[in-house]
């Protein structure tokens, strides 16, 4: 049995947006294992992103507990969560979240500047096949390229876990598959625990495990006996 990276116990999350109360998570118990690629599936508002944010230390659970390698995240102060994100987690977002005033290289350096043992920004960008776009600003790149910069930024710190929130959501299928290939390659080469949120059901076929969400709860967990490579996917 591989090592458990994340463990959650009965976590709930209540959001207050304006005057509306939203129950985003309603009791989630989950374990994620070292080196696995997990896909979280589910309709909008089912709680996937909320869980990912809590796992990544971007947000806190309203109730329940979360452990990262035996260390309880729920107890950490803000400073501790910052430290945790800085040292262990890489994020990829649907809308890339690049800083528009920085070039591809500089966007990656934003992370390498504050990491312990990062790879050079150029190397990270070469891994996502952008060695020739180092000095381009986000506005000068296509969506797929921007997302690959975001992935380079996430992996440059050599994180133990990679959390991807709808990484292909804003991309056409061809560029989407290119991005998934990069994620697959990183998961394989570095053994980085990778969690991908999507509501594209086709993507589940490349995962080790598929975790289905419904109304803030896990409705099913399913292990793929045979995985497809990203290259083989079609949607």
């Amino acid at each position: 049995m591989p090592e458990i990276v994340f463990r959650t116990e009965g976590i709930t999350k209540v959001y207050q947006t304006g005057e509306v109360k939203v129950f985003a998570l309603a009791g989630v118990d989950l374990s994620l294992y070292a080196g696995e690629m997990a896909v979280l599936l589910g309709p909008s508002g089912s709680g996937k992103s909320t869980l990912l944010n809590i796992l990544g230390g971007l947000d806190r659970a309203t109730t329940g507990r979360v452990w990262f390698r035996g260390k309880e995240l729920t107890d950490l102060p803000d400073r501790g969560l910052t430290r945790y994100r800085r040292d262990h987690v890489g994020f990829v977002f649907q809308f890339y979240n690049l800083v528009p005033s920085l070039t591809a290289r500089e966007n990656v350096q934003l992370v390498t500047d504050v990491s312990h043992d990062p790879m050079p920004a150029e190397e990270a960008l070469a891994m996502v096949d952008l060695a020739d776009r180092l000095d381009h600003f986000p506005s000068e790149m296509s969506g797929g390229e921007q997302q690959r910069v975001a992935i380079a930024r996430a992996i440059a710190k050599r994180p133990e876990i990679l959390l991807c929130d709808e990484p292909t959501g804003a991309l056409d299928s061809k560029t989407g598959i290119q991005v998934l290939q990069v994620l697959e390659e990183i998961n394989r080469r570095f053994g980085t625990t990778t969690v991908i949120i999507t509501h594209n059901a086709d993507i589940q076929r490349m995962a080790h495990r598929v975790i289905q969400f419904q109304d803030g709860k896990i409705s099913s967990v399913h292990t793929n006996d045979t995985r497809m490579s990203a290259e083989e996917l079609v949607w």
């Binding site: 971007l58 910052t82 994100r85 800083v99 934003l110 992370v111 500047d113």
Partner: protein
């Protein structure tokens, strides 16, 4: 190597440069006025103090009618006196070759053994006249330069009725005459008034003062109490016709410099806080918007592990970059201002050197003030950025919380158009921001309004002093009281059309614990040239036994019409009489008191006499008059009022022109800073909303109306507040500028308000129109696609 976050900082700054510049310019005004004010204040006061100390400027001054030389030793023995200098001084009309006008000289005796011990002149060229020589004279350098006189040149002086030829042996400056103003003059004029240092023997012979002196200056020991020394000096000298000893505050030159130095301190404490306050507001407004726009970037920075402190510092540094811009521009401006002020002072004040203390700490203090200002302004936004929870930051912000209120019902009842409702609702939704924008624009208005009051006020002063009260063309000042008959004799002089006599008496007026040293001007009733005018413009005749006081003097003595004041006449006859205050009048030059001429003569039991003759003149024969005046005995000085009026008006016009230009520029910078930034922020907040309206079929101008309307509505509402603040500032400035020498009335003129409002409204409109161009260029589709 530069960190990626620092690059973001620099690029953001580069992108925001127009907004940053608009703020930096306002901040620069603060730095400029602080640096310029502090710099001028420090250099003036340091220069004065150093000059006084090096050249042993006296602490106590008095004049007497005639006191024997032996009293000098007794004065030196008095407790608290460190050094004494007794001198003979007097005025004389000079005949300077090449000068067609009458020139007045103040003659000061030099001790037999050489240079004076106190008020030591700095010899700029040549030497002191030989103690035994009767025709040698040292003059003040400015006088020599203004009249193109060199060492060895000569001129004539009418000394106590004798015309003497004097040869210049040297030129000098003195701490006693930094501000050199002739008797009766309103502004220094080096061409018509000079200081003449002559050997004691020669002066004493000329003024019939051998073995005696009429002027005393004293330097006190460090521990001495000035008031005690003054009392003992007065006790000693009273029998000799003393006019009463006074401290430096009554020494004319020092009074002018001190009042100037005080004004600088006031300016340095009023203006910079206004600019810094507006800058802080602008910074907070702009930073607040930047942080709203960069929400998701902040979320990202947090997600990748930047700490709250790093993010907070990042945004504070952005504000600090704006401050650095403002500081650099302000330093350049302040250095220029201090230099320019110093150059202007060199015109009026005769300093042998100027100590520039602008260096070091004033630069440091202004920079720290500017940095603190922007940091304070940015602090709230930066802390908010640091506190944003990363998961929340990455989501679009919740829509602003509009609530229905009474005002909404009122708007509905008025059937306002939706764009108008949008404007009003947005103003009410952010009342603090709307209020501060309004205040910012109001301050811009007040910046233009407050100095604009100088013009109508000075017009009022000039009108009152020159065309209502003092209508004479010239004043002939006699060396001592003369019989009334000389008034009639004056009509026989060339160019003189009419003449009126007048008497001036130094007095101390008292009411209980309040007292003031001034002089009483005594006129015959019904004079036409020099008149006492009340606030309605009617001529006031002072009834026998009564005295009329200027408002300032009455306030100082705490008396009003019907009250009694005690008047101690100084000089020959030291007598105290009770006088009834019959009226108080508004007057802007000096703090005068007025009596009836016959009444004064009767009160002092003296034959009818006068000390000054006022004349009206026929311009055609003026040269002949000047030629004749040079030879008239007992004439001390001649004041040509026509020239005084002209030079006063010209100087004032020029200075007011400069001041108004500077303040209008500052007002424009504030207006642009506030309205441009306000409109940019509004556009950025509302770009989707406005684009939606365009898509729904609103025209460009209908959409612009919302953008322009909000700013212009605030600008219009700000006007009355701006007028009010302007008046408050003007009142403060005028009160602080007013002294015994002159006071400024606040004349409220609608034109002042109209001009300021016009300037600010046009500038606001222009600033918003610049932003509107961006609105016109907006690509509707891309704006709608942008994710908040």
């Amino acid at each position: 190597m530069m960190q990626a976050l620092d690059r973001k900082l620099l690029r953001d700054f580069g992108r925001l440069w127009k907004q940053a510049l608009a703020i930096a310019m306002v901040l620069a005004c603060g730095v400029t006025t602080l640096l310029g004010g502090l710099g001028t204040y420090n250099s003036l006061s340091d220069t004065r103090d150093t000059y006084y100390e090096r050249n042993r400027f006296a602490d106590v001054f008095t004049t007497v009618k005639r006191a024997p030389d032996r009293l000098a030793a007794e004065l030196a023995e008095l407790d608290g006196v460190w050094a004494v200098e007794t001198r003979t001084t007097g005025y004389a009309v000079l005949d300077v070759p090449g000068s067609s006008v009458s020139v007045t000289g103040q003659i000061i005796s030099l001790p037999d053994d050489g240079a004076p011990r106190l008020n030591v002149p700095i010899i700029n060229s040549g030497r002191l006249p030989h103690p035994d020589a009767t025709g040698g004279v040292m003059v003040n350098t400015n006088f020599a330069e203004a009249n193109a006189l060199r060492i060895g040149d000569h001129f004539f002086a009418n000394l106590n009725g004798q015309k003497r030829r004097l040869t210049i042996t040297g030129t000098a400056q003195s701490p006693e005459f930094i501000y050199t103003i002739g008797p009766g003059a309103l502004l220094p004029n080096n061409a018509t008034f000079g200081i003449l240092w002559m050997p004691q023997a020669a002066v004493n012979a000329a003024f019939d003062m051998t073995g005696a002196f009429n002027d005393v200056t004293l330097k006190l020991a460090a521990s001495a109490q000035e008031a005690d020394v003054i009392d003992s000096v007065d006790r000693l000298l009273d029998p000799y016709g003393s006019l009463g000893a006074v401290g430096r505050e009554f020494q004319i030159s020092d009074a002018f410099i001190s009042s100037e130095i005080t004004q600088q301190r006031v300016m340095a404490s009023i203006l910079p806080p206004i600019f810094f306050g507006i800058s802080a507001f602008l910074v907070s407004m702009v930073m607040g918007r930047i942080i709203a726009l960069e929400r998701s970037q902040i979320g990202l920075l947090k997600a990748v592990g930047y700490s709250d402190l790093e993010i907070c510092l990042h945004y504070l540094l952005l504000a600090a970059l704006i401050a650095v811009g403002g500081i650099l521009i302000g330093w350049a401006g302040g250095t220029w201002l201090a230099r320019d002020m110093a150059r202007q002072y060199a015109q009026y004040f005769d300093f042998p050197f100027l100590i520039f203390s602008t260096s070091g700490w004033a630069y440091g203090a202004s920079a720290i003030a500017a940095l603190l200002t922007t940091t304070l302004g940015a602090a709230n936004a930066a802390v908010r950025a640091a506190r944003l929870a990363p998961a929340i930051a990455m989501q679009p912000p919740a829509p602003p919380n509009f609530k229905r209120s009474l005002i909404d019902r009122a708007m509905a009842a008025m059937r306002l158009s939706q764009p108008t409702v949008m404007i009003l609702r947005s103003l009410l939704r952010w009342p603090l921001r709307s209020g501060l924008t309004l205040l910012g624009i109001a301050l811009a208005v007040s910046t233009i309004v407050s100095p604009s009051f100088f013009q109508p006020s000075l017009d009022k002063i000039i009108d009152s002093a020159f065309y209502e009260s003092n209508r004479q063309d010239g004043m002939l000042v006699m060396s001592h009281d003369m019989p009334l008959s000389v008034t009639e004799a004056a009509v026989d002089l060339p160019a003189v059309l009419s003449s009126e006599g007048q008497q001036f008496h130094p007095v101390v007026l008292r009411n209980g614990i309040h007292e003031k040293r001034t002089s009483i001007q005594a006129n015959p009733p019904g004079t036409d040239l020099s008149r006492v005018i009340d606030s309605t413009g009617a001529q006031v005749d002072v009834p026998p036994g009564g005295v009329v006081l200027t408002d300032g003097l009455a306030a100082h003595l705490d008396v009003g019409p019907g009250d009694t004041v005690e008047a101690t006449f100084l000089g020959d006859r030291k007598e105290t009489h009770a006088l009834m205050v019959t009226d108080t009048i508004a007057q802007y030059f000096g703090i005068g008191a007025y009596m009836d001429l016959d009444d004064v003569n009767a009160l002092l039991r003296q034959s009818p006499r006068i000390s000054t003759i006022n004349v009206s003149l026929n311009d055609a024969d003026i040269d002949a008059l000047h030629a004749e005046l040079k030879d008239i005995p007992n004439l001390t000085s001649v004041v040509m009022m026509t020239d005084a009026r002209r030079s006063f008006s010209e100087t004032i016009e020029q200075n007011i022109g400069i001041i108004n230009t500077i303040y209008i520029t500052i007002g424009l910078l504030i207006t642009i800073g506030v309205t441009y930034n306000g409109a940019r922020i509004q556009l950025s907040e509302r770009s989707r909303e406005l684009a939606s309206l365009r898509i729904l079929g609103f025209t460009r101008s209908e959409v612009s109306y919302i953008l322009i309307g909000e700013t212009m509505l605030l600008a219009v509402l700000a006007q009355p507040l701006g007028w009010y603040i302007g008046m408050v500032i003007a009142t403060g400035m005028f009160t602080s500028f007013s002294s015994d020498l002159y006071n400024l009335p606040l004349v409220v003129s609608p034109a002042v308000f109209a001009k300021a409002s016009l300037i600010v409204l046009i500038a606001s409109f222009a600033s918003v129109m610049v932003v509107r161009r961006r609105l016109d260029k907006q690509d509707l589709v891309s704006v709608m696609k942008v994710r908040e």
